[in-house]
Symmetry: C2
Subunit: 589 residues, 2 copies
């Protein structure tokens, strides 16, 4: 297969597009892979389409290999199934909605849980039919508030979405892990440096969930990872490693002290260091236990007052708190609500009155660091007083723990002993999700089990951003001169450049290109006659085919030049051996 630069529908640009924020966007536009049609909506020019198809091909191969079956749902979908799942409303402004000529409501599919659920309901009726894994590679639509970075976050994009259907939790676990394995193979083949990040469930409900993030400074997603092991998680999903319970036999008894004018942790620490200095080290905010009062709004409408106890040197991370409690909503407790609990002394609330067994009747949840045997300075439930040497497990017991405190760089890794956590950025390339029964329940997908009883099917949903992968690979594979494609998704195997004005050069190049094509390689051949070698080489670097072959001056010595786009290494190849050598270079990857 040969494309000729003289006729290829391509014009490279010397200048960056005005709206390009990231390297992949800049280079994919400049090198003629994509063009913007509207905000977040792009056209794929011939080079871009070839890369997109290669990415699709890798994904399709691996999905087929794992035993998933491909089908294709419409993008234009009727409202009803999305009303049944409540996503018609839940999706908010992110959903493109429209009406047909008869006024019936439709949407452009953002993902297809509903349609797959209905398809399985339509065709299957017995546990014997399951598990089944179905997928599609399809154009999807989301009306992003801020489409950005070219095809990295578009409003029309190509996605591979698959769905697993099982009758048992163990089956769902197997389906989930099978997808996880396939995703590892896919992202390895796509040439990504990626992290598998534990995720919270997000708006979709459900339980186990991981994201595959391509490591990239341009990424929109923040996560934390261990400096030592391969632990990685969304901030919402990070678990805190609690200190081991320690014995508290020798600790002094708790004692309340006057701490006037200490409305903040900082003022409290100053008073402690002034009035109650410690022998070993000064008091710090981390020695104090602050109790944050909130109200939980349950889905059934009831309101529940709760206190959250956490070390005084950490703030509550609202996203982590929300993630823990979803679908319950959380808001700060207001003055009026506080006044309704007369035992609460604002600014001086302590465990003495908290916990459902205690005076306030308010449920008391604490950070995992507030572990048995830890010693705290905290409110004495009397204005202007704090309790010192209050020991968890001896002097108070919480009703439970909660992961609500902010995560900081340097926090210990929850998994290994050596590492600490650090913040990193990435591009979400894939998401695997043990959905559970949400959609099956909403749409009535049940099958007969072994004893002839109807059982609700449990589902997993698994996505890969296909068009986004093109940008993400570009983001991770470029230099200042242009793109540097991994071999398996490069638009062509070879970029052959004929230089000079000698007709013999073009004849030799033409012959070589035909032989390479005959050997099954795809070749981009720069056959332009009136373009300088400098421009041709610049275009070749920009376009980013991994091997560049120059047919030019060396021909007099019977050689062509092979350049590795990534390393820049050059070597001469005798013309007679060129087809064999180049085929070998391409095949060995």
């Amino acid at each position: 297969m040969i494309s000729r630069m003289s006729s290829l529908f391509l014009r490279t640009l010397r200048d960056d597009p005005a709206d390009a924020e990231v390297a992949s966007h800049r280079l994919l536009v400049r090198a003629g892979y994509v063009r913007r049609a509207a905000p977040g909506i792009y056209s794929w020019l011939p080079l871009g389409l070839r890369v997109l198809r290669n990415v699709e091909g890798i994904i399709r191969e691996e999905m087929d290999a794992m035993g998933a079956q491909e089908l294709q749902f419409p993008a234009l979908l009727p409202k009803e199934p999305y009303e049944a799942s409540n996503r018609w409303t839940e999706y908010g402004d992110g959903l493109f909605r429209l009406q047909d000529r008869k006024g019936a409501d439709y949407l452009l599919g953002p993902t297809h849980e509903e349609m797959f659920t209905l398809a399985v309901k339509d065709l299957y009726s017995s546990y014997k039919d399951l598990p089944v894994w179905l997928y599609q590679i399809q154009t999807k639509y989301r009306d992003e508030a801020r489409p950005r970075a070219g095809i990295l976050r578009g409003r029309e994009f190509v996605m591979k979405d698959s769905y697993s259907f099982d009758t048992t939790d163990a089956g769902l676990e197997d389906s989930y892990l099978a997808h996880r394995d396939a995703y590892v193979r896919i992202f390895d083949r796509l040439g990504f440096d990626y992290a598998v990040v534990k995720a919270t469930s997000g708006a979709m409900g459900g339980s186990r969930s991981e994201e595959f993030l391509a490591k990239a400074d341009a990424g929109e997603d923040t996560y934390v990872r261990c400096t030592s092991c391969d632990y990685a998680a969304n901030v919402e999903a990070v678990t805190t490693r609690p200190p081991a319970p320690t014995a508290y036999d020798g600790l002094p008894a708790a004692h309340a002290e006057k701490t006037p004018d200490t409305p903040t942790i900082a003022t409290l620490v100053d008073v402690l260091n002034a009035d109650h200095p410690r022998d070993d080290r000064p008091w710090t905010a981390g020695d104090t236990l602050k109790n944050v009062l909130v109200v939980l709004k349950h889905p059934d409408g009831t309101r529940e007052p709760v206190a959250i106890g956490l070390p005084g040197d950490r703030e509550v991370d609202q996203k982590r708190l929300d993630g823990q409690l979803e679908p319950i909503e959380v808001e700060p407790m207001d003055e009026e609500e506080i006044r309704r609990h007369p035992t609460l002394v604002k600014g001086y609330v302590g465990p003495g009155v908290l916990g459902e067994e205690n005076a306030s009747g308010i449920r008391y949840l604490v950070d995992p660091r507030v572990a048995e045997g830890t010693r705290w300075v905290t409110g004495a439930d009397v204005a202007g007083s704090h309790v010192l040497d209050l020991v968890a497990g001896r002097d108070f017991t919480a009703d439970g723990t909660i992961e609500a405190a902010e995560v900081r760089d340097g926090d210990p890794c929850p998994v290994c002993d050596d590492g600490s956590l650090e913040t990193a950025r990435g591009i979400e390339m894939g998401h695997i999700f043990a959905l559970g029964t949400k959609y099956a329940e909403a749409l009535g997908l049940q099958v007969l089990d072994e004893i002839g009883k109807l059982t609700t099917v449990t589902m997993g949903s698994y996505g890969i951003g296909v068009s986004r992968a093109v940008a993400a690979v570009a983001e991770g594979n470029h230099d200042e001169l242009g793109l540097v494609w991994p071999r398996e998704i490069s638009p062509y195997d070879l970029h052959v450049v004929a230089t000079g004005k000698d007709e013999a050069v073009f004849e030799a190049a033409e012959e070589l290109v035909r032989e390479l094509s005959g050997a099954g390689l795809s070749v981009l051949y720069d056959d332009r006659r009136k373009v300088s070698p400098g421009v041709k080489f610049k275009d070749a670097e920009l376009v980013g085919v991994p091997s560049i072959v120059t047919v030019g001056r060396g021909l007099a010595d019977g050689v062509v030049e092979l350049k590795d786009r990534r390393s820049g290494e050059r070597s001469d190849v005798p013309v007679g051996e060129a087809v064999a050598r180049l085929t070998e270079v391409v095949r060995k990857g």
Copy 2:
């Protein structure tokens, strides 16, 4: 490649879907190829998607082979380019329109003339860049008033659309013919019995245009074809073969006669036969020349009175008339307008006052049958009188001819001497169209010509209904038992059925299937253990893979049975030769 019936996402249906109007719809649903998601919107199940991909593959191969370049535009498109071409309005209710979260107007692309035009404008600037042929295979949207017949006329459908860009009419002609040749190859490979039908321009404006119609009684499109040669045309595009001019030396002079009470052609014919009998044969309506008065409404708003003269035995075909005059609109001349022309005597209008040179000043266009030397009875421009023996070319001359008369079965073929026209029905599979400069003008696509002057580019547009082709092939390839796919688009090369309860049969079938797959064939393997042979064979007939291989009883004699789905022919194949023989059967097509 092996798919197993035991796990394939497929359930065949014994009953026809309630809404199925045509065989292809009925069978594609029953055999598990497609499922309806909404009116005119279908999901592609695994079998259907394989056929769709095969059709796409054939089209892609031929488009690439002709030198067209593939790219991909969005389906979700901004309004502005479609406003510039006026299609935002012209398309009427057929366009799916929507707004994004910011209230900006978008549409779902019905075809992409505008986007391709803008892409060429974006990238190219010189005549040296042209011609260029670009195509995409893409999901398209039209809000059909009456979606019908399953995927035959859907609202979401897959289409191949290509566009040619040239600087000269001769270049456009070459581009048009290159597409025509490619289409012939494509439709031949798809196994269609088709007609290439001359078409009028339709709503798109422009000149030369042909449709590729698959011959099918279920087709929505009517056309006429010659019983003898391969002439075929839309009714709008049929040209009338005029009689050869004849000498009129010996004919009697024209003479006006009283013809009282002859408000209709029929009454006139009666009076003629009663009062002016002919020697050789009775008068018929075809001997009379009727003159129909209309008003042309030009796009610039001016109104022009015109008379259309045609043999009295034919009505004006409004579609043919509209097709001839587009974008001019035509309406009957009303009483008031007639009164404004005092020389016109209603019911007795004749050529004596018509023609721009004559008394009425009304332009006079005649049917091609009103040729020089033909003799007519027509209005004498006096109430109650007609002129007899009025000879065209001798007694009157029209301002021109027009194809406005109805076409009838039996009319002589305009091309060959032997044939006559007959009406036929078909499914529009492809449309090729020499568009001209409409879109280039609307969107400002100009390039520099050889002398450095800006010249407007001239375009062709060429479509193939890809998803429709799946239905149309099914429509033309089925019997009472099910589908019968042509080899090149069949979902699998072979359908292997293992029958009986003998484990050895399943082992032998498994081995055979693996070897066939290893030889590069795709196999649908019916490995179901608890399903009767009868059901398996019924499913195989319904699914329609062209070769069905049964591994069963014959195994004891060392043979498997090969059945040709189309002919029903059966033959035994020794197990040892099965892979070689079956590969040969598949490869020879």
